[in-house]
């Protein structure tokens, strides 16, 4: 296992727990996206993983070693890019790359040149004169050029325009295609998560809720919509029908675990005998995720974390 969390808990002084009892294994070679609303504990989790923060209880392990015991040999196999990356601002881009290169035996000069070209970075510009997007690209350069086995990205796309996102996505897809790479990223950007990640985990108030392989989760779920003249939702809706909303323009929800579409259709018709124009289809990630977030607003997570489907 390249990344493991064991009962990881972080409580800031006199505050609520920012991360609560997180236990999770990241499959090597997978791209894991940590999702959740602002303040859910995503950045804290990443900082604990990289030993930038001390846990209150439990531990995060990287390459089989507790984060606090990471040595330079491990760091040489680890890349990290954060939306608020601290960079040596007084350096020019070319100086920054020359500064990093000796620290990483696996640094690849050809790859560096290719990425510099792809990112169209001005080599003689000081880092503090770069735009936000260019700074992120410089940070990516500093993390990708030695082909780390594990890449940790904290909100890598936040605040970037579409062209910048596309360039970063291109570089990341190429990186993933080169071999077994494990990526742990936190992100709000559903479009990018959907393209990059194969596994997701959702944090809510520091607790891990829904988690699993995206294709598995989506293949068990269905997006439902239909028309009905009944203005009120029936009282006896199953607990895994997330975020039922009814309006004159249609009634919608996400059914999280659907073994059988015909049974789902029957369950709908028994509650709404006048249901018309019924549509049942696999949801995209964004619809699924947003309906889940709305669901846990109304039904907060219980003590232990849950995985769906079982």
């Amino acid at each position: 296992m390249s990344i493991q969390f064991r009962s990881l808990t972080k409580q800031y002084r006199a505050g609520a727990e920012a991360v609560r009892d997180l236990t999770l294994d990241i499959v090597p070679g997978s791209v894991f996206a940590l999702m959740g609303r602002n303040g859910a504990g995503k950045t804290t989790t990443i900082q604990l993983l990289l030993d930038l923060l001390l846990p209150t209880r439990g531990e995060a392990r990287l390459f089989g070693v507790p984060a606090a015991k990471l040595c330079p040999e491990h760091r040489q196999r680890l890349g990290y890019v954060s939306e608020n990356q601290r960079l040596p601002d007084w350096m020019r881009v070319d100086e920054f790359l020359r500064f990093l290169k000796p620290m990483y035996p696996a640094w690849d000069e050809l790859l560096t040149q290719r990425l510099v070209k792809l990112f169209a970075l001005p080599m003689t510009q000081r880092l503090d004169r770069l735009s936000r997007g260019q700074r992120m690209k410089a940070a990516f350069l500093g993390a990708l050029c030695y082909r780390p086995d594990v890449l940790v990205l904290d909100e890598p796309f936040s605040g970037l325009d579409s062209v910048m996102r596309q360039d970063l996505l291109d570089a990341l897809i190429e990186f993933l295609g080169e071999g077994e790479r494990t990526v742990f990223l936190s992100s709000h950007d559903l479009g990018e998560v959907e393209r990059l990640a194969d596994t997701i985990g959702v944090l809510d108030h520091g607790r891990l809720g829904l988690h699993g392989n995206i294709d598995d989760l989506l293949s068990h779920a269905r997006e439902v919509s239909f028309l009905t003249a009944t203005p009120q939702l029936p009282a006896d809706l199953p607990a895994d029908w997330w975020n039922p909303v009814t309006s004159p323009h249609g009634t919608t929800f996400t059914a999280a675990v659907v073994p059988d579409e015909a049974a789902l259709a029957a369950a709908i018709h028994s509650r709404w005998p006048d249901a018309g124009g019924l549509t049942i289809r696999p949801p995209g990630l964004s619809r699924y995720y947003i309906d889940y977030l709305r669901h846990i607003e109304v039904h907060p997570l219980a003590g232990s974390s849950t995985a769906l489907p079982s």
């Binding site: 596309q166 897809i173 194969d198 294709d215 018309g276 124009g277």
Partner: protein, 126 residues
């Protein structure tokens, strides 16, 4: 349908979209038996999606007998054996049931469904 030109939509799972586009390209005859089928990396880069997702779709295509991987050469569209007559209808049974269910949900008449089927049938050139 050019596999590289598919426009991924956010409304449905990406894996399903890739698999669907590839099946359609092969079954419609746009990709012919013996044609080269793009590599995982080519498809991942062109569509800007995780190579693991593409690999999974490729595995499904191979299991369906639509694509094969030749060592040292790459991926290729398979020659498709004629399914045994008795097995043909049975293979479609589940898909047909889903189609009929959907049509009934939409309160379509059987004749409307027949007409729509004919229309789609005609879009593929044999």
């Amino acid at each position: 349908m050019n596999l590289f030109a598919i426009d991924l939509k956010s409304g449905s799972p990406i894996y399903e979209q890739v698999l669907y586009a590839a099946r359609k390209a092969i079954i419609s005859g746009e990709l012919k038996p013996g044609d080269a089928f793009p590599s995982v990396r080519e498809i991942a880069a062109a569509l800007r999606i995780n190579p693991n997702t593409v690999q999974k779709a490729l595995t499904a295509l191979k299991a369906e007998g639509l694509v094969e991987t030749l060592p040292g050469i790459g991926n290729r569209v398979c020659e498709r054996p004629e399914p045994e007559v008795a097995g043909r209808a049975a293979q479609l049974d589940e898909a047909l049931e889903a189609l009929v269910l959907r049509a009934r949900q939409l309160r379509l008449a059987a004749a409307d469904l027949h007409a729509a089927l004919q229309d789609h049938w005609g879009r593929f050139n044999d």
